[in-house]
Assembly symmetry: C2
Homo-oligomer: 324 residues x 2
């Protein structure tokens, strides 16, 4: 089984999720509708929906469960999209996935309200999913997500942050929602508490690996592949694992700290990127991503359904190995 | 019965709501905790909670209904607060209720995430209220609220907007959440569908009257009383009913349009305020507020519980008559 055959197996349900996303992004309000539509059209891998759909098939007890799992999957993606739009306000980002961001096209205020709107649409879908436990877990997740987002502002340009701070930040920024996608998908299919708990942990480790890989790609990816220019994180003062490791390297650390500050120019950023590439930063990050990936695959063996095990393992390895 | 005796009757429950608000505004994240705490300390009339509490006592069927109505009331106030924080980002407002806004003290980005956080906290409370119908109505309300917020950006400085546009904007901005406070409070107490529907309409008319009164006070209130400087709406390009009526007045209209544009100075604003005061703007606004108030009181007679009728009528008249 390869990555594409997993996608293929869930094609019909992913199309249903896509339909729900487009349906819910609609608004009589033109700016909202256009901005939301543009976000949807920019694509993305729909990973969170896919995780929810796979985990939502561990057991199928209800006739309408497919429909409700699709709604949950769409709610997860909308929540993710809402955080992306608000992150772009923060990042002053002009491009995401190779396209202009809502912020650059419509302005910060419209981006803020587009995020709010998508967030409200996610809540609306959750209401239709109508599962109190799912609602409770999801709303707690949203609270923690917001806490994580504000932490990233505090950590911008802060070279004194520890790697632990970085890990806690990406846990809230990425791992949390992927863990929820797996756990809540499973919960919708009335999986056992053991399975739900193993899948939540699997999602957590997977999310950690994904974000570290993403942060690596920001140093080695090209605009054509990743859809945004290299060094973007440094440019916005977002200090990720490779940079934090590089900053602890003798001779390099001081120079790096001196380059990355508010008001730096594009040459400074490119020089900083090349400094980081000269250190063990990427190597350390790759090793840690691999360790999280290993943990994810190990915990997966505790899941009772073998097909779910297999599909998740294929998907996770494919995504995590993008940068290897 | 007067205004204060109504507040007095709900004092214990309002204190419980206040406790929940402080409890939920807490966060390990310092900026979020401080910003939220500051918003709470700034006070406010807690009108939405009070409406929900009053309407939540039409029938009391469940032993724990008090507790759940308080949670609903707190969720409504948190939603309101979230929109205030995001509005202040829009408004570039430095003061609200006589205190520095989150935006002016912590910056736009922190204000955006504080709003998101409060919004997520509201959703979390809704999950605990655990009433699918309440969740459904509330999430739809949130979607419409966001649509209303983005419309106000479009309408800034737009002298060609109709009074109908203004009314639709304040319906979403204010009347909607007050209508929900009444309807959902009633729903929590297992009121009849007739009562719920009458209370929703009552809340709608009341909210319309409140917002028009608020918009009047922006022209005639003083910073000491209202907590923000006079002419604030014009300063941010928010064209309210008195200004829109004034703009249709021969001789005044053209001058007014010439004064209010982006980049105007404080003298322009004060001159514009005095121009509006010379027209029928305030008179027309007062008449319309009175008409909404009359409609609210009329629809109230359809509510089966006389005590609820009486309390709501006292409360509504007190607030709506602030500017008369």
């Amino acid at each position: 089984m390869d990555f594409h055959s997993v996608y293929q197996r869930y094609r019909a349900q992913l199309e249903q999720v896509e339909y729900i996303l487009h349906d819910r992004a609609a608004s009589q309000q033109t700016v909202l509708a256009e901005a939301s539509q543009q976000l949807l059209d920019a694509g993305g891998k729909r990973l969170r929906p896919l995780f929810a759909l796979i985990c939502g098939t561990t057991q199928q007890l209800h006739e309408d469960s497919d429909d409700r799992v699709s709604k949950l999957a769409a709610a997860l993606e909308l929540t993710h999209m809402a955080t992306l739009v608000h992150d772009d306000v923060i990042d002053q980002a002009a491009l995401r996935r190779g396209r202009p961001t809502v912020r650059s096209e419509y302005g910060n205020l419209a981006a803020m309200y587009t995020g709010d709107f998508l967030f409200a649409r996610a809540i609306q879908l959750l209401a239709e999913v109508d599962n109190p436990e799912v609602h409770r877990e999801m709303s707690l997740g949203m609270v923690r997500l917001c806490q994580g987002e504000i932490e990233q502002i505090r950590d911008f340009y802060n070279w004194d942050q520890s790697i632990k701070t970085y890990l806690r930040r990406i846990e809230r920024k990425t791992a949390l929602l992927i863990a929820l996608s797996c756990a809540l998908g499973a919960r919708m299919s009335a999986a056992s508490e053991q399975d739900i708990s193993a899948l939540r942990l699997f999602g957590h480790y997977t999310g950690m690996a994904f974000q570290i890989v993403d942060d690596i790609l920001d140093f080695v990816g090209s605009q054509e592949v990743v859809g945004k220019p290299v060094g973007g994180d440094l440019r916005q003062g977002n200090l990720t694992l490779p940079a934090l490791v590089a900053a602890q390297t003798p001779n390099v650390g001081r120079r790096l700290r001196g380059l990355i500050h508010e008001g730096m120019n594009q040459d400074d950023v490119l020089e900083a990127v090349s400094l980081v590439l000269d250190t063990q930063g990427l190597h350390v990050a790759r090793s840690l991503a691999q360790r999280y990936l290993d943990k994810a695959l190990t915990v997966l063996t505790r899941v009772s359904d073998e097909r779910v095990q297999k599909e998740l393992s294929v998907l996770t390895q494919f995504v995590a190995e993008r940068s290897f």
